[in-house]
Each structure stands twice: as structure tokens, then as C-alpha cells.
Symmetry: C2
Subunit: 209 residues, 2 copies
């Protein structure tokens, strides 16, 4: 993963800023200071200013930030609009749960296709999207602008499927398989490792003082 | 979250060590050096030794680690066996997908109960577990030893439900709602924030060099 000059910590905070700013905007809050925003985020005002300075500031010292403008700027930085078309590979429980997850379209992400290897699933329609056989993948990707592929296949198939996606031009993979994918460094991967998250929770629970 | 003397980075690596060691053990590998293990984990040998030294070492210098022993030690440290009983609050798409996720029982986590507010869902059986009405929650928790509660309810209900769980004695919450829960510091929370993960991926994709 190569993101010039921006630390992972900053990248990880951006969607949280966006979430809080969307809420503030919905609640008709017009302006917010870095102190108020930092309290919501459980961080410090200087952290907020430092984060925003990376992208040129967004506000005038002493006047706080205009919530709507800042929200739009951060949405633009995250680049939802340039990166909002996704497909799902694997229409099992998790794949179907993601298709049914109501939040993605609200945030600007559209699921354009679902693929599976299982002929029994192919042809089924979820949220108006028909599950396609996986051998249609390359044709579909050549005819549609897709920026993100979500991988919800069994672990044994994940690495090969990821390589197939990369060969077909995909540069961003949202990986739910419990495996560390080995891919060229120009491909970005974000993992949702459920079992590891659950074990981290168990560990913390067991080491509570 | 209070875990004395152990950094989050170390805690986050423990389940990955466990995953790799389980694989090695399944493949009948008997011994592994810190160098080999560090290559699998994409870290350094000194990092591996440093991590393990926190817990007293596990191995003899120069002889590498016994894979089976190390695997068992780390499983014990994570404390799956002391912390393996969980319930799921919210039997919607995500809750059901988690109940159907085949990996949890293999790792030692057992789902003992599922609760929902929706009377249409109550009484349905998933993986031999009947969905119960939420008003049975306190009674169930008083009669069963449950260590982890998984929260897959809508965002608007998450904070109140988390507080209700804490009142009923729960000290570990696996939270899927897109919200930062505000709970007493003796309660550990691990978040799966799907939308934020997807936005982090979008951000990285858009800032690729």
C-alpha cells in the first residue's frame, strides 16, 4: 500500500471525521471548533488541526470550521464519488449480508454486481442485483467501471480469486477471508478479519485489571 | 479499555500468530524459528522475540519454537476457553451471517443465544439456536455464563442496548453498529466498523501513487 506522506493513523481517522460531521450536519450544526470536534473524536484539538493541515487546513483560525463545507471536503478527500462502484465475490452469508446492508448506498457506495461459483445461487436476485456465475467476471469488469472488489469467498479460494481480480484490472480489494493476501504493491487491500477481531476482544476481556 | 502493560499492537498481533501457528500445526510442521515466523507475519525476528518475551518467552534460544506448544500457549493467552460463550443481539442480516459463520466454533467460540426486538424473527431457529425476544435478555444472562455480547442492532439502538448489557453484567462487547460506544472503562469494546473500513479502502485507492 502506497499513500504518499499520509500515515495510516490519519487515513483511519478520516472516515470517523466524516461520520461525526455528517451527524452534525444532519442536526443543523453550522460551525464547529477544533476543540469541539476533538471532544467528539476523543482526541486533542491540535491533533484535529494537524490532521486537517495535511490537506491544506479547511478553516480560518479562531472561527472554527463550517460543518457542511468541511463534511464535503472530507467526503471529496476520501473520494467516495470516484470510488463508489463495487462488486461482491462470494454470495454466501456474509456476501448477502453486505448486499443487504442499508448504509452503503447512503454513503455513496453502489454494489453493481455479485458473483458466485455455486450454480444454485446464480440467478437469484438480492436487492435488485442478480447473482452471476463467476465465469462472467472478466467480461463484466471489461464492460463496467468498478473500483472496489469485495472478497467474501472461503479462505482456500481467496488468494487465487484476488489474483484473478488484479489481472482483470482491480486495484482495491475489501477482503473478508481470514488470510493475508499477497498482491502487487500497487493494489490496496483492507481486511475485515472477524475471527481476529473477536480474539482481540477475548484477549482484552481476559486481561482486564 | 485497560490491559496492563500490553500495547494494542501486541494484542492485535496475537490472533495472527495464532492463525499462522494453527496452519503450521495442521501442516505437521514441528518447529519454527523466530526468523521463519517473522517472515510469515511480515515482521522482524526481533519483533517476534520481543512480543513473546512479554509473556515469558516460550522458546529456547537457538532451537526455535515447538509449534504445537506455542500454538497452545498463545491460545491460552488469548483465553478463548475462558471467554468462548457469546450471545448476539440483533438477528438481522449481519447477526444471521455471524451465526452461520462456520469459523467461530472451530476457534472455540460458541453462540449460546440470539435476541431480537422483532416479534416476526423470534422463534426462528438458526444453527439450532432459537431467536429469543429481547425482554428475555436479563433472565438468560442470569442463568448462563456469557462472556461476550455481539451487537448487530441499528445504530440508534446501539448505545442504549450496550448500557443494558453492561447493567446485566457483560464486560466485553463486539460492536458492529457504526457508533463509538460510551461505556465504563472496565468494559472492553472491539468494533467492526464496516463503512469506515470501506472508506479507508476508497481513500487509499484514490491516493495511490
Amino acid at each position: 500500500m502506497i499513500v504518499t506522506g499520509i500515515s495510516n493513523a490519519v487515513i483511519n481517522r478520516m472516515p470517523r471525521y466524516y461520520r461525526y460531521l455528517r451527524d452534525l450536519s444532519k442536526n443543523h450544526v453550522e460551525r464547529i471548533s477544533s476543540t469541539e470536534l476533538s471532544q467528539l473524536m476523543h482526541t486533542t484539538p491540535s491533533q484535529v488541526r494537524q490532521d486537517f493541515n495535511i490537506f491544506g487546513g479547511f478553516g480560518q483560525q479562531g472561527y472554527g470550521y463550517n460543518v457542511q463545507t468541511l463534511c464535503k471536503e472530507i467526503k471529496g478527500l476520501i473520494g467516495v464519488e470516484q470510488c463508489g462502484s463495487m462488486i461482491i465475490i462470494g454470495a454466501g452469508n456474509m456476501g448477502q449480508a453486505l448486499v443487504n446492508y442499508a448504509n452503503f448506498p447512503k454513503l455513496g457506495f453502489q454494489i453493481k454486481g455479485i458473483f458466485d461459483i455455486n450454480p444454485k445461487l446464480c440467478g437469484l436476485v438480492i436487492q435488485e442485483i442478480e447473482i452471476q456465475p463467476i465465469d462472467q467476471l472478466e467480461k463484466f469488469l471489461s464492460q463496467n467501471q468498478i473500483q472496489i472488489a469485495t472478497l467474501t469467498v472461503p479462505r482456500e479460494q481467496a488468494q487465487a480469486m484476488a489474483e484473478r481480480l488484479v489481472s482483470a484490472g482491480i486495484r482495491a480489494i475489501w477482503n473478508f477471508a481470514p488470510i493475508d493476501l499477497e498482491l502487487p504493491k500497487e493494489v490496496v487491500v483492507e481486511n475485515i478479519h472477524l475471527a481476529e477481531s473477536l480474539m482481540q476482544l477475548a484477549f482484552r476481556r481476559n486481561h482486564l485489571t
